[in-house]
């Protein structure tokens, strides 16, 4: 049985950063990922990472922008930590090899991003996530003697011991089908987001809420689950993202009348207002008949106003996406986009060191909710969140490991998970296909838990999700083998997505106001008197979601009206 002081689930930016930080403290570290680390979804992050590194900038300004962006639901103590540590973190990345774009003086160049009061986004063309992820993986290869990697291993559940603490995980080697119990003094969940609950989404196929639901089932509270970000610029057909970097470089949004309609909702920041604001403005144009594209469900993003040379150098990836996936040369003509599901602000509730209320269980990255993003995440703040809180969780867990003995764990849970898998494989071909259920979940969520919501739609969504949960219990798989059985993993992932989706719907129904990404047409105003608080969701004894509240931490910035 493998044993580690610190065991990390997930090898995206949060997981790899946590592993490197823990290893630096000299403890034994393992990192498990269901895909090869460089395939993790962090690789898709395009636009950049925020840090107040310019001499003219101040981390407090970054923190204030983040608080305002969050619609005052973010916890200000955590935001202060993130923003004040950001410059040091970006310099660290630079020192280990990230090829950040420079200005003519050879210093890091900074681009404009939404909701920011000045240019503070460091970037590598529009492959920032890829560049950082690959450089962290270089470091993992360098430190392979101190970080043990389990690549293409799928975690099926967390082990909770009799005292209620986390003592390890059960995982399956995807290449062989072998199940293994991993004992650990500390487990850090860094298993990413839940975008596949929606269709379309900008998220990769592997973003299936695994960690969120594993923690939820193990008794950890989820927080801010109603806060789901719709990104203003995604391709209609397949959900692919056009980075906010495009608007950062100066691109315009136009309706069917050729009007820069953002002037109506954000006369100062225009296209660079917060994402929730821009997505809402677009949806209003579309709903009121000023949309473009074949069915009028789109908006023009006009990048031709950016000098072509600059576009080719700094927005290379979206030039390709436009060409390859939409047949449009974005340097010559506008491209049709629409708001699309992109990010979940909510997740497993943690403190500033990544600790969840379950002893020995940490969470960091998109799976976690610290909460630094509150009701709406600013662009380029997520990479920062993964790195800062990944590092802090790694360091804290390493320190905690020193005073603990290795927990002894039985093989009972392994047998339970192995049986669960055998049962899935043995299901008769009578129920629905996994792919059908997933499709219905995605389109339902995208219809009712989107930019605009109301009680009726949310109630309908809840009914669908509850029915799909029943159907999923008998959905069958075709693959009966053990080598790379992706089919059975798909069935397990579907279960994770359904549980997570249910908590999103329940939280959205609960919050009877409009704040950040949650806009209720039946409660269109923000209501600080009643709703300046986080919604927490626990899994009850009966498996049903139970709602409770926790306060928002306010340090220096009192809630005020949000204008861009």
């Amino acid at each position: 049985m493998p044993e580690h002081d610190v065991l990390i689930i997930g090898a995206g930016l949060a997981g790899q950063r946590a592993a490197l930080a823990a290893a630096r403290e000299g403890v034994s570290v393992g990192i498990i990922s269901k895909v090869h680390p460089v395939r993790s979804h962090s690789v898709a992050a395009a636009g950049g990472i925020n840090a107040a590194i310019s001499v003219a900038d101040d981390w407090r300004s970054h923190a204030y922008d983040t608080v305002k962006g969050s619609d005052f639901l973010g916890d200000q103590d955590a935001i202060e930590v993130m923003c004040s540590e950001a410059p040091g973190e970006v310099m660290h990345l630079e020192h280990i090899g990230v090829t950040f774009h420079r200005n003519d003086a050879g210093e890091l160049d900074l681009r404009a991003f939404g909701g920011a009061s000045m240019n503070r986004t460091a970037y590598v063309a529009d492959i920032t996530g890829q560049a950082i992820l690959h450089v962290l993986y270089e470091q993992l290869m360098k430190h392979s003697s101190s970080v043990e990697r389990f690549e293409e291993w799928f975690v099926t559940s967390l082990i909770i011991d009799d005292d209620g603490g986390c003592a390890g995980v059960i995982a399956r080697d995807i290449r062989t089908g072998r199940m293994e119990t991993f004992a650990a003094k500390n487990v850090i969940l860094a298993s990413g987001g839940a975008g596949q609950c929606f269709k379309p989404t900008t998220n990769a196929l592997i973003c299936t809420a695994d960690g969120i639901t594993q923690a939820y089932r193990a008794g950890a509270p989820l927080m801010d689950m109603e806060m789901i970000q719709y990104h203003p610029t995604t391709l209609a057909e397949n959900g692919f993202l056009i980075t906010e970097g495009a608007r950062g470089e100066g691109a315009h949004l136009l309706n069917s009348e050729g009007e820069r309609f953002m002037s109506k909702m954000a006369p100062n920041k225009m296209e660079l207002a917060s994402r929730d604001v821009v997505s809402r403005a677009e949806q209003i144009e579309i709903n009121e008949g000023r949309g473009v594209g074949p069915d009028g469900r789109g908006i023009y993003l006009d990048i031709t106003v950016v000098p072509r040379k600059r576009t080719l150098e700094a927005l290379r990836e979206i030039v390709n996406i436009g060409k390859d996936f939409a047949g449009v040369d974005i340097t010559r003509e506008p491209i049709v986009i629409q708001p699309g599901q992109h990010y979940i602000m909510g997740g497993v509730k943690t403190d500033k060191d990544g600790r969840t209320p379950i002893a020995g269980l940490y969470a960091a990255g998109e799976v976690a909710c610290v909460s630094v993003h509150g009701g709406n995440r600013l662009g380029a703040n997520s990479l920062l969140d993964t790195l800062i809180f990944g590092r802090r969780a790694g360091e804290h867990a390493a320190a905690r490991a020193r005073s603990l003995a290795m927990p002894s764990v039985s093989e009972a849970q392994l047998r339970r998970d192995a049986e669960m898998i055998e049962q899935i494989i043995a299901r008769p071909r009578a129920g629905r296909r996994i792919s059908e259920i997933k499709e219905e979940l995605g389109t339902t969520m995208n219809q009712h838990v989107a930019v605009f919501r109301d009680e009726q739609g949310l109630t309908a969504a809840r009914e669908v999700v509850v029915r799909l949960k029943e159907e999923a219990a008998t959905a069958y798989v075709d693959d009966r083998g053990t080598v790379f059985n992706q089919d059975v993993l798909g069935a397990i992932e579907l279960g994770y997505m359904l549980d997570a989706a249910e908590t999103m719907v329940v939280a959205a129904l609960e919050r009877k106001e409009s704040r950040g990404a949650q806009f209720r047409t039946d409660f269109p105003e923000r209501n600080d008197a009643e709703w300046l608080k986080h919604i927490n969701i626990n899994c009850g004894e009966d498996g049903e979601p139970k709602v409770s509240y926790s306060p928002v931490t306010i340090t220096q910035w009192q809630p005020e009206e949000r204008k861009y």
Binding site: H95, Q130, G258, D324
Partner: protein, 357 residues
């Protein structure tokens, strides 16, 4: 919607059966990707079809396969494009080459690709002292290494590398592109050591045969062969590494030969690479190459007159090109990210509203 027939190479290591082909008919718009086609087949007909995939948008590097014999990403190939390249009206998808197959379209990248990456010290050996803030480096230098940084480690270039087919120990296109990422990085302190190791390695820098396969295969425009040529140039011209594979002298002999003759005079190239016809080191090589030369003579591919005299001389224009290039104080490398003309630097005229509406 159109119908497409996918012919998938299937293999189940547990069945004891050899690999076989299986066809599925799917329905999608022609500009959708081959990956979407495979996922539709998997969702509708057979959940056991094995393929790695995640991002669907050519950034995670999971879905490297061969489509109608061509290596590439399944998510980066349109169905209609794939059909155009097909000879039998079907889109054939099989696993990448040069790597063992685990199952269906999934190959063992650890056994080949990652092992080779690991071999080139794939991390920055940072210059000391580490500054408090960022290293101050040239803007162009960072943009330049970004091209090799753009590699998504998909393995498509490894799949069909000719040199690797012949010499499985060849370090290969992706790992060499990764090396350039450090050799081109002004923050790295061990350029010479890296280049020396690559040059001296009998399966290293000089094993590539310039076949262009990796350039065609690469979905991200990394141009691995181009990076290899730049590594050679930097190893030879800037660091004067005279490797035991004779790569350095060969390269110089090549350039001098063209400068003198205006085109490549093959008969001189080999002896020149070893220091000239009268250099003792060249003699065994010349003898070794005699059979090839003789065969060439017999088949009329070379004539004695051409082999021994130099009928062709470099033109004035060609000499001018050499002078112009060699007198430049700086060298500009062609690069994907450094592109466009100066006019491109002007803002575009905003499109008139009625034109877009």
């Amino acid at each position: 919607m159109s119908e497409f027939t996918l012919r998938l190479r299937r293999y189940d290591p547990q069945s004891g059966e050899p690999p076989y082909w299986e066809s599925h008919t799917i329905e999608l718009e022609p500009h959708r990707s081959v990956l979407e086609g495979i996922l539709q087949a998997r969702g509708r007909f057979d959940g056991s079809i094995g393929i790695r995939c995640s991002c669907r948008s050519a950034i995670c590097g999971s879905c490297g396969v061969r489509i109608n014999g061509q290596p590439g990403l399944a998510c980066h190939t349109h169905l209609d494009e794939a059909l155009e390249r097909s000879s039998d009206g079907m889109i054939s998808v099989e696993p990448m080459g040069n790597m063992p197959v685990i199952r269906d379209l999934i190959v063992d990248m650890d056994a080949v690709h990652w092992k080779k990456i690991q071999a080139v010290t794939p991390w920055l050996l940072a210059r000391e002292p580490v500054p408090e803030r960022e290293y101050l480096v040239d803007r162009e230098a960072m943009v330049d290494v970004t091209q090799s940084m753009a590699c998504i480690q998909c393995g498509a270039c490894v799949s069909d590398c000719l040199a690797m087919e012949v010499d499985p120990d060849f370090i290969g296109p992706a790992a060499l592109a990764k090396s350039y990422r450090f050799v081109g990085d002004p923050r790295d302190s061990e350029h010479t050591e890296r280049l020396t190791a690559l040059s001296e390695d009998p399966h290293g820098l000089y094993t590539c045969t310039h076949c262009f396969k990796c350039v065609d295969a690469c979905p991200k425009g990394v141009n691995p062969m181009g990076q290899i040529m730049r590594l050679r140039r930097i190893a030879g011209s800037d660091h004067h590494i005279e490797d035991r594979n004779n790569g350095y002298r060969h390269e110089h002999a090549f350039v001098d030969n063209v400068r003198r003759n205006g085109l490549l005079h093959e008969a001189d190239l080999l002896p020149d690479s070893y220091g000239g016809k009268f250099n003792p080191r060249a003699v065994p090589e010349l003898i070794a190459s005699m059979p090839v030369a003789l065969r060439g003579l017999l088949r009329g591919k070379i004539t004695l007159r051409k082999a021994l005299t130099h009928p062709h001389k470099a033109s004035k224009e060609l000499r001018a090109i050499f002078e112009r290039i060699e007198s430049k104080p700086e060298r500009y490398e062609l690069n994907l990210y450094v592109s466009g003309t100066d006019e491109d630097n002007e803002p575009n005229e905003p499109a008139p509203a009625e034109a877009i509406a």
